[in-house]
Amino acid sequence: MDLASAKMIGAGLACIALVGAGVGIGNVFSSLISAVARNPAAQAQVQPFAFLGFALAEATGLFGLAIAFLILFVF
C-alpha cells in the first residue's frame, strides 16, 4: 500500500472520533433542555455551564479531526 492511500485511510479512521463529539454535544443540550423545562427560572444559571460543556465535548472530537488533518496534510 502506498503512502497516499494509507493517508486517506488513516484520515478516514481518525474522523470516527467525531461520533463521540456528536453524542457528547447531544447529551449536553438534552440535559440543558430537560433542566430548563423542569425549572425555567434556573436557565440563566445553567446556560453558561451548557456552553462550557458543549465546547469541551466538541474539543475532544476536534482533537480527532486535527489528527486527521495532520495525517493528510503534514505527513
Partner: protein
C-alpha cells in the same frame, strides 16, 4: 480529474517585512500584522469608547462596559475571591482571542489563533503563571492539589498519577482546543469553497453550506474565546483554593 484543493494554503505565514537579528528570523509576518490589528482594535474600542465617560453610555461605551462586566463577572464567579488581581490578565486573554477569532472570519484575512504556536504560547503562559501563583500562595502544600480528600490509601496510588497527568495535560488541551476549532472551521470553509469553484451551476449547494458553516464559525469564535477565558479562571481557582 483530480480536485486541486489546497485548503491549508490559508494558514501559511508569510514575512511582510523581512528582519534578521543575529541568526533569528524576526520578520514582521502576516500573523504579526493581524495581531497588531487586533490589539489596535481592542485598544481603540476601550480607550475611545470610554473617552466621554457619560453616565448614560452611548453605543461604543456600552460595548466597552459590557465586555468589561462580562469578564469581571466571569472572574468573580469562577475564580473565587482573591482572584481580582488577575482580572486584567483574563480580560486581555479573552479580548485578544475574541478579536483574533473574529478577524479571521473576514475573507482573505489571517487567523492568528489557528497557529498552534500562538495558542500554545497563550496556554503555556496561563499554565506556568497559574502553577507559580499556586506555589507562591501555598508553598509545598500546593501539591495537595493532586491528593483529593477522603480517598482510601489504596486508591490514592492509582489516583495521584492520573491527577498529575491531567494537570500537566492542561496547557496542551487548552491550546489544541482553540487551535483545532479554528483550523477545522477555516479548512471546512476552504474545502467547500473549492467545491463551489469546480462544480459549475450546482455551486449554489456548497455556497449555501458555506454560509451555514460561516454562521457556525461566528458562534464558535465567540464560544472558544469564552471557553479559553473561563478555563483560565477555573485553573486559577484550583491554584488559589486547592480544590
Amino acid at each position: 480529474m483530480a480536485l486541486e484543493l489546497h485548503p491549508l494554503e490559508q494558514f501559511k505565514v508569510e514575512p511582510l517585512i523581512p528582519l534578521h537579528i543575529g541568526g533569528l528570523d524576526v520578520s514582521y509576518t502576516n500573523a504579526s500584522l493581524f495581531m497588531t490589528i487586533a490589539v489596535v482594535l481592542i485598544t481603540a474600542l476601550l480607550v475611545l469608547g470610554t473617552k466621554r465617560g457619560a453616565l448614560v453610555p452611548g453605543r461604543w461605551q456600552s460595548v466597552a462596559e459590557m465586555s468589561y462586566e462580562f469578564v469581571a463577572d466571569m472572574v468573580d464567579t469562577n475564580a473565587g475571591h482573591g482572584a481580582e488581581p488577575y482580572f486584567p490578565f483574563v480580560f486581555t486573554l479573552f479580548m485578544f482571542v475574541l478579536f483574533s477569532n473574529f478577524l479571521g472570519l473576514i475573507p482573505y484575512s489571517f487567523t492568528v489563533t489557528s497557529q498552534i504556536i500562538v495558542t500554545f504560547a497563550l496556554a503555556a503562559a496561563v499554565f506556568i503563571g497559574v502553577t507559580i501563583i499556586g506555589f507562591i500562595k501555598h508553598g509545598a502544600h500546593f501539591l495537595r492539589l493532586f491528593v483529593p480528600e477522603g480517598v482510601p490509601m489504596v486508591l490514592l496510588l492509582l489516583l495521584v498519577p492520573i491527577e498529575i497527568l491531567s494537570y500537566f495535560i492542561r496547557p496542551f488541551t487548552l491550546s489544541i482546543r482553540l487551535f483545532a476549532n479554528m483550523l477545522a472551521g477555516h479548512t471546512m470553509l476552504a474545502i467547500f469553497g473549492g467545491f463551489a469553484a469546480s462544480v459549475g451551476l450546482l455551486a449554489i449547494l456548497p455556497v449555501a453550506l458555506d454560509v451555514a458553516i460561516l454562521a457556525l464559525e461566528v458562534l464558535v469564535a465567540a464560544l472558544q474565546a469564552y471557553v479559553f477565558a473561563i478555563l483560565t479562571c477555573l485553573y486559577l481557582r484550583d491554584a488559589l483554593h486547592l480544590h
